[in-house]
Symmetry: C2
Subunit: 424 residues, 2 copies
């Protein structure tokens, strides 16, 4: 890691209020605080930086009067007060649906699904990218970029197009054509890299370290980017009628989303926007990429990296940066981190579709399959109110289920054939 270059184009000065209520950057490892700016690693210990805030008065009424997207929470995000006037994809405020059929199926009393598959590019990444875009704009970045194999590439390419900022997206050159099209449609600068995702990621870090003015959303503007996931937590609380659930199940890739949802809940409590209460946080991983679940099961404090091999590609981060924080939160709150097989993931995708009419990608399948397992193993209390997060859309991972669902019958185009098929 390096802090010598930055997303800031030389000569740029930050305007007053560029980051709203954010006031500092705090190292999550050593706690050192520094001034807010285009930094992402601690100058003392190279640990990851996180945003520190001084919130003013924030009321439920003020939030409810805001737009039906994440900017209703702008007073809690590192974005300027005029954020809504800058072209962006306006993600968020997605549905929180009570999942009655699914609850019955699983033997749970009260279950909700937070469905982020209906975001602009059909995953929760639109939330984090919107916050990264705001930071890039305030830093005067000349390029908006990311390495990715999927959801992040879509979100960055689309958000950059709408913002009118030069956007460059790096993908492994062996990525399937449909996934390439999903991003290439938005940007002239899709760059195929001959190598695997790790190679692409390494190249991105190298470019971020060499070129001024390049904002890599998940590298050098990561502290700002990551805060976008807090909005999932705010929305769940608001949509439940300004209260917290008893239990929440969240997928774990880097682990960032889970830590940010917890952070959001803590902020809402501190601000008096919801009542303080205990809640349990559960993490979901695939067996084919289970470093955090393994550490949890074995009672370790450190994460041993793995080489991913799972259909849940959007969760396939073998060395998750926030894994240790996920362990902390799961243990502190009385939750857990569990893992499921690819077959369990496939089954869960179909289960969610057949019970609630939501087509989730493999990440959501993982989360639901873990929820099911947590109930079966007694780790999750079926009598207590539970929320799980669906982070993306099944249209992006069609292959996962195309072998397991299909027509029930093929008939001739006649009423007699219909009757004979016994469908009435």
């Amino acid at each position: 890691m390096t802090t010598t270059t930055a997303p800031t184009t030389p000569g740029t000065t930050l305007r007053e209020g560029a980051f709203g209520p954010a006031v500092s950057l705090i190292c999550r490892e050593c706690g050192t605080t520094r001034e807010l700016g285009p930094h992402y690693a601690c100058h003392e210990c190279f640990g990851p930086l996180e945003i520190g805030y001084e919130f003013g008065s924030v009321t439920r009424e003020q939030i409810e009067a805001g737009p039906a997207n994440i900017w209703r929470y702008k007073a809690l995000l590192p974005v300027p007060d005029d954020i809504e006037s800058s072209p962006n994809l306006e993600p968020g405020f997605t549905r929180l649906l009570e999942a009655r059929n699914l609850a019955t199926e699983l033997g749970i009393t009260k279950l909700w699904v937070k469905d982020d598959s209906t975001n602009p590019t059909n995953s929760f990444k639109d939330r984090v990218v919107a916050c990264a875009l705001s930071a890039a704009r305030e830093f005067g970045s000349k390029v908006f970029a990311c390495p990715s194999t999927g959801n992040l590439a879509n979100a960055v390419a689309a958000a950059g197009a709408r913002a009118g900022i030069r956007t460059v997206v790096f993908i492994p050159s062996n990525l399937e054509t449909p996934k390439q099209v999903n991003s290439a449609v938005f940007t002239e600068n899709l760059v195929a890299v001959d190598g695997n995702y790790d190679d692409v990621n390494k190249l991105a870090s190298e470019i971020a370290g060499e070129e001024d003015g390049w904002a890599f959303v998940n590298v050098n503007v990561r502290p700002f980017y990551a805060e976008g996931s807090k909005t999932l937590g705010y929305e769940i609380a608001e949509q439940l009628g300004w209260r917290l659930p008893d239990q929440i199940v969240i997928p774990v890739a880097s682990g960032s989303q889970l830590t940010k949802v917890h952070k959001a809940f803590q902020e809402l409590i501190a601000l008096g926007l919801v009542e303080d209460k205990p809640y349990k946080v559960f993490g979901a991983q695939a067996e084919g990429c289970n470093p955090v679940a393994t550490a949890f099961a074995e009672g370790h404090d450190a994460i041993r990296p793995v080489k991913p091999d799972t259909i849940a590609k959007s969760l396939a981060i073998g060395n998750p940066a926030d894994g240790i924080y996920v362990l902390d939160i799961a243990r502190q709150t009385g939750g857990a981190v569990e893992q499921v097989s690819d077959d369990e993931i496939r089954d869960a995708i179909v289960l969610l579709a057949r019970t609630e009419g939501i087509f989730t990608e493999t990440a959501g399948g993982t989360t639901l399959a873990v929820l099911k397992k947590l109930v079966a193993t007694g780790q999750l209390d079926p009598e207590r109110e539970t929320v799980f997060i669906n982070t993306g859309h099944g249209l992006k991972t069609l292959d996962a289920v195309s072998g397991s669902v299909g027509p029930a019958a093929t008939i001739a185009p006649t009423y007699d054939a219909f009757v004979a098929a016994n469908l009435a």
Copy 2:
């Protein structure tokens, strides 16, 4: 057409308030009025029936206090007052985005895109299906069904799953596997029919005519179903700050959506929710399925059916039921119905993605391409405020652009290769 059978299961009685402010069914051909019920064809002339209302007092504040979905307009729809308590997909209240980059590109002063690609199953069909589902529930229908090749199948299968009603979806057996999966994931009863879409449609009408208790959304509950499209008009007006645009461009398949958006605008004026003002309505078709555009261009009052051959498959209705009403509205308001080629459609899909970060399907490409043509030919005033509707998601018609977009470069995973590629 027949009115002898109905979606009502024998023995079912309608409950008080089952259809909210709706009070009657009115024939659009002869004007004959009949009592509200499970009917879809006039008993005098077999013309199509439409819902008649007696609206109570409806205020902006009342609507704004409602949920962020179509049920905020329940006082204007044929649904019961407790509609929100019945499990449904909660579609609507999708983004209305100001399209500044696109406006600049087209030389238009003020342009908005109403983006229905972020609906639960990624098309406007979720709106109409939600209203059909409510009707089916009130009629005590035992089966929720449709013939479809795409968006409608997805929407019906998903909505039926969540509602816990038996759902049967009929598709042509030669439909591509990905499209089959999009519906099969939601229902055990996807039925492949050996024939083309017309054969499937004919079979559906036959079943609707023979079996009691089958609610075919676009056949025997069509009057209720079609009203769902009004919500597009309500949302556009509300999201503009309770006013109407000067010009609106809407795709034309059956023509129903266009007529309902116009109906919605007229209702809002009549109720005093927006100021009365002139606005022009434009219809968009593909050259490969252009019966309404042709009739408009030739000044005819009747529609001559065509055999569709276009990449805009969701608009490929060769004999559009509401075509004559579309002609009326376009002429009355000073609008037009235009047509564009498949190449223009493909270009428009990429144009929208690159300027506004929205990936539309071929129907949306058609609408934008027509908008572009209307400006170029002077039929649409570039100085006046314009809205166009994006009805669906590009993930469903990937093939349309997969030949025309892709990586700009393929490089080795090194910084030197990056520099040599001249991307900085």
